[in-house]
Symmetry: C2
Subunit: 133 residues, 2 copies
DNA sequence: GTGGAGTTGACAATCGTTATCGTTAGCGCT
DNA sequence: AGCGCTAACGATAACGATTGTCAACTCCAC
């Protein structure tokens, strides 16, 4: 039997992106992550950072959110469905759960005949540290 | 005394953008609106459409939301704080209110020391018409 | 070690949006 | 109606994040 097509490989670049994500606790943009990797001497292309983040996001390994200005941010996250309270300045994030809203959104969608409903809930603010600075 | 600086003027272009928005009941992108205006013979520049939408959004005359792919959408809306259930295909929107969540998000932000907290809640699905088509 | 399919990355292209800046035109005033 | 000031316009260029391209590379099963 030949190799199963579709296997994913463990490459140096993916390990480095994952390592950086593991060491970061706030949301970061692909460009920020790429810059950080370059700073610490890692040899990773910007394209690869984007691709890796997309892979991880699709696999549910990282969460992604979008700032009001449209920039995409990524963060290594706990599993399961949850939402975020994010600092608009430093990216620090707190995972929050909204038990009632999950049910509520489903019901609203169904009540209006919408199917395949998905929802996005993000709370963006300024964290205590950034506020006093 | 001279003219008060900062006055806004009534131009043909703004009237046309407003008229189109009034005749549209779903979320539309700036580019879609511009194309529609051109189709019906209106002479309006793309830049002006963007500027006008931004003005209206700042003034609270229209609501803006962002699709998962980052595209900005606009819609003439009822006043007051509310959220939307939007069709991902045709842009049709239903305004919904989430009584408990407004309070909940405020409390969560405060509990974690965040200030100036803002929240975005959007439900995107496929409406009944688009689903059967 | 070898083969070949998954990966990489420099570069170009895309796409929505914003800045530029000379021209146009709304409107308060006379 | 005419004048003048300045907001507003709009064609075009610039921008910035993201994605496509494609030849070179490198994991890894055998």
């Amino acid at each position: 039997m030949s190799v199963v097509p579709g296997a994913t490989r463990n490459t140096r670049q993916r390990a480095q992106v994952l390592a950086l994500l593991a060491a970061t606790d706030g949301f970061r943009s692909a460009q920020q992550l790429h810059a950080n990797l370059r700073d610490e001497g890692a040899q990773v292309g910007l394209t690869t950072v984007y691709r890796t983040l997309q892979l991880l996001a699709d696999a549910g390994e990282v969460d992604q959110m979008r700032l009001p200005d449209g920039e995409q941010l990524y963060r290594r996250c706990g599993r399961g469905h949850h939402h975020h309270l994010v600092c608009r300045l430093c990216g620090r994030a707190v995972e929050v759960e909204i038990p009632s809203v999950e049910r509520w959104t489903r019901n609203q969608a169904a009540a209006h005949g919408f199917v395949d409903a998905d929802h996005t809930i993000e709370i963006v603010g300024t964290c205590a540290d950034c506020a006093t600075r």
